[in-house]
Amino acid sequence: MIKLEHISKTFEQNKNIIHALKDISLHVPEGKIYGVIGKSGAGKSTLIRCVNLLEKPTSGKIFFDNQDITHLSNRKLIEVRRKISMIFQHFNLLSSRTVFDNIAFPLELNKTPKAIIKQKVNELIDLVGLSEKANVYPANLSGGQKQRVAIARALASDPKVLLCDEATSALDPETTRSILELLKDINQKLGLTILLITHEMDVVKQICDQVAVISNGELVEQSSVGEMFSHAKTDIARQFIQSTLHLTIPDDYLARLIPEHKEGLNPLVRMEFTGVSVDLPLLSQIAKEFEVDSNIISAQMDYAGGVKFGLMLTEMKGKQKSTASAIAFLEKNNTKVEVLGYV
């Protein structure tokens, strides 16, 4: 549906040349939800603005529906943009218009007849669950409601693609979840292709089919979400995955933790289970084979893109030699083990 080929974008700022995007190629298949994740300043905002040419790429090509749209005339570009809708972090609703009129806005731009606008807008207001707020001004809506209006407005022109620019970053976790559910819902009901950018792995985990990681203007990794969570290749991808798991060492352990081994101390180990290792009974295996008992301090398992993954913090109780071979055994079974210290 959307294909970027070798997109580069440079900005000139006070005679310094900034490479915002470097040779980025990606393909968003029809009907899928594609997530681009990156830290702030990684170039993701520039990337999503290149898709509907709010920013002109310095080089490279953009295909929409198999049509090269990189060098369209302004008039043609306006037509294409009506098929590629966009929602924003700060909603960008018109404060001088009511909810109804905001949703009607893209239809007005299109010179759609009044009767059709009325019918269409009412359908959309129902779809996003704001039937009672039709004549309210945006100033009197909550953040989540504003984003719902923005989504309805984006859907008004019957787009094929929806671009989401950090659409949930200004919302609280509860509202974020409901907005993501709405997006997933319209993706399934209307078959709408969604390209979203975010800095939160939770968003990707919850709704994306495919994911790409962007760092310093480069696309460092892209795969299906399940693949990413089970076999992340780059450190930055692993960092994002870990950010969705909140594992901290309890204070009393932290106080006792020393970096070097001493007689009578046990290693404190962080284990990262991904892919196949999640389903293996590894802890009981090391208990049986190496006589190493695991005292689980904290653990978290999660599910994304059809793949389970998890983190676990344990104290390994056993002889020094047997704990070492237990760790080797775990590593052999696709578990990433890190000895944090000794307690």
Binding site: L54, S85, N92, Y137, A139
Partner: protein, 253 residues
């Protein structure tokens, strides 16, 4: 050219109507107790008030007709804006600054030849509308530009993403979103204009300014001068009140 302009004399008509009643004689007697007042002066005062209001409305109107597009161009030709043009922005900005620098009292005299061509004369309330409109339009332009600068950039981006043309962005997004600020600025402009008009009175435009100078100052009749001041203050208060009321109605945040 000046013939097509409508006649505007609400207060004069009101006084003529009141003059038919019995209490009018008492009122005239009361007013005549102040130095310089008599029935003829009362009518002059009504007429001058009419002229001032007439000039405020018409020069405000023409000033906006000239100033609004200039203000929109000043904003839209800025760097990164929808009609980004370095040259156009600098030329328009330069001309606006030049006209803003000319003191109003000098502008009136300076453009007399132009006024004469346009209106056939340079004396009277209708002729005064020419320098007034030209004098106030750069102020309006800058105020419009300022008001548009307050519109969040994200709204323009969102409109572009929806396929809005530059013209649609101007009249469907920028102007409606900036409306409360624009109305507020227009109130300030009209009040400034009331001051300009009093000045224009000194060089033959008519209106309350001329009355105050001619009878109050030159004829040394403080009562007339003070009455004119009170009327001007009332006019300013009314403009401010109307402005505030409209702002309240069009503000939705």
């Amino acid at each position: 050219m000046s013939d097509f302009l409508p006649s505007f004399e609400p207060f004069e008509s009101l006084f003529r109507y009141l003059a038919k009643h019995s209490f009018w004689a008492d009122f005239v007697t009361f007013c005549s107790s102040f130095n310089g007042f008599n029935e003829a002066m009362l009518f002059k005062m009504a007429q001058a008030t009419d002229e001032t209001i007439y000039m405020v409305i018409l020069s405000g109107f023409w000033g906006t007709i000239i100033g609004l597009p200039i203000g929109i161009l000043l904003y839209t030709t800025r760097k990164g804006q929808i009609l980004d043009s370095y040259i156009a922005n600098n030329v328009i900005s330069f001309v606006t600054n030049v006209f803003r620098s000319i003191p109003f009292i000098i502008l009136i005299v300076w453009i007399i030849p132009f006024t004469t061509i346009l209106m056939g004369t340079f004396i009277g309330k209708q002729a005064a509308i020419v320098p007034l409109s030209i004098g106030v339009s750069p102020l309006i332009a800058r105020m419009i530009e300022n008001a548009l600068l307050d519109v969040p950039k994200g709204l323009i981006e969102a409109s572009r993403s929806m396929g809005a043309t530059p013209l649609q962005i101007v009249y469907k997004v920028l102007l409606p979103e900036a409306l409360p600020v624009i109305v507020n600025s227009m109130t300030i402009t009209l009040i400034t204009l009331t001051g300009y008009i009093a000045m224009a009175g000194a060089v033959g435009a008519g209106g309350l300014g001329q009355l105050a100078i001619q009878y109050g100052y030159n004829g040394y009749k403080p009562a007339i001068m003070n009455t004119v001041l009170v009327i001007l203050i009332i006019i300013v208060f009314i403009i401010q009140f109307i402005g505030n009321t409209i702002v309240k109605r069009v503000t939705h945040y």
